[in-house]
Amino acid sequence: MNDFIQQLLADGPVVTDGAWGTELQARGLQSGELPDAWNLEHPERVVSVARAYVEAGSRVILTNTFGANRLRLGGHALANRVSEINRAGVQLSRQAAASAAHVFASIGPTGKMLLSGETTIEELRAAFAEQAQALAEGGADAIVIETMSDLDEAKAAIAAVKATGLPVVACAVFDAGKDKDRTMMGATPEQVARELTEAGADVVGANCGVGIERYVPVCQRLKTATDRPIWIKANAGLPVMVDGRVTYRTTPEEFAGHMPALLAAGASFIGGCCGANPEFIRAVKTHLTARS
């Protein structure tokens, strides 16, 4: 196991953070506005999200850089600011983390599909190399590749992160198939764990997609196919519309209620994704503290 990751897990499972998008919206991010651009436009609001997670008990926080790759930023005429946005993202999380948390910088998918010919593997490699380089320069402790549906894209990102020398967490989203236990491309948890491990991931996992109850068996299956620690960040259920507003029905207590099962399934890093705010992290933290 990677030394830094091993050290981090020495005292047992680690609480990560929750959703960023929904927290930024609560601070005024408009529909269609690019969250990553706020690292330059509203740095104080980005820090306040990071701080809310540190205060809730996150020992690992991510960064507001999920979409900060050239292909996505290009859609907002920001392709020339990739490096700046990523470095700022790390610095803002670092500022909130101080000595209380580690900063794992986020890399999300490009939104372009290899299979349909919208992009090429070379283009993906270049985009991820540029982003990973900037995140490393910004001072990230590690990098998390999140919400991947395509293993080839995930592997391109892993290779880019490996080149920086930072530890790498690689996660897929499982939300397809009748049991919602496959990636969009049809990969099973076993296949994902095996291939991401072979590609050099130090931690493998699952994030976004479905509610936490469905990620308990996914975690178990990931675990059977790899010797790496498992990272799980599930949604607070699926969104429902209540009075014209998007709401997540799962409560922080219900979410934390799945902790015994998730820990038994072998999860080492636990946090939340869409709809999981700092209250969810606080509830998870309380549960883990009570257990130890």
């Binding site: 408009q30 529909s31 269609g32 299979l115 397809a176 496959r182 969009m184 699926l238 429902v240 998007v246």
Partner: protein, 213 residues
């Protein structure tokens, strides 16, 4: 009559070249275009949809089958038009305003094309006005909207309102889809149909048009 099994297999296996070559040879040998479509290609795409439902096929298989279908249809389309055959319908499709995600939308567009629909793809970040304009200009009978973000979902409702105001709501069936969308949400905003997967969108579109006729 000619054995159509190789054509069906080519589409099922996503072999665009084999599908194209089969159709080319069949036409050169004097085959009628319509039976090729109805007796081999459409049933093959139905089977692709069935395999998707059963977890035998996933997105990669859908994409390559749709591509094989398209390559065969491209040869047949001029002949079908010359014989007065109508497309299954004309779809105006797009990802709604504020949303730049196009993977799901592209997949549905490819499957609809494979299903014999004329597809007008408006791209991403499509405003209600752009949908209305395209419906009027293209004479569409289906509007298909996609959203990945919970923050952009409300724009679907905005588009339906805009279609009403422009007086073209009755002319079209409105279909919606995307990760955060549910049947309940589709009902709430007054959409005609919802599908949680791409092959489902094709059967839904056909069903809706049949109900309308």
């Amino acid at each position: 009559m000619q054995d159509l099994k190789p054509l069906r297999e080519a589409i099922l296996n996503g072999d665009a070249k084999a599908a194209h070559d089969f159709v080319e040879k069949a036409l050169a040998a004097g085959a009628e275009p319509l039976p090729l479509v109805h007796d081999a290609m459409v049933p093959a795409m139905d089977e692709v949809g069935r395999r998707f439902e059963c977890n035998e096929y996933f997105v990669p298989e859908l994409l390559i089958s749709a591509r094989a279908m398209k390559s065969a249809l491209e040869l047949l389309r001029p002949l079908l038009i010359a014989r007065g055959a109508q497309p299954a319908g004309r779809v105006v499709i797009g990802t709604v305003k504020g949303d730049l995600h196009d993977i799901g939308k592209n997949l549905v567009a490819a499957m609809l094309e494979g299903g014999g629909f004329d597809v007008v793809d408006l791209g991403v970040n499509v405003s209600p006005d752009q949908f209305v304009k395209a419906v009027k200009e293209k004479g569409a009978n289906i509007v298909a909207m996609s959203a990945l973000l919970t923050t952009t979902m409300p724009s679907m409702k905005g588009t339906i309102e805009a279609l009403k105001q422009a007086g073209v709501r009755e002319q079209v069936k409105v279909l919606v889809g995307g990760a955060p969308i549910t049947q309940k949400y589709a009902d709430e905003i007054g959409a005609d149909g919802y599908s949680d997967n791409a092959p489902g969108a094709v059967s839904l579109a056909k069903k809706q048009l049949a109900a309308k006729a």
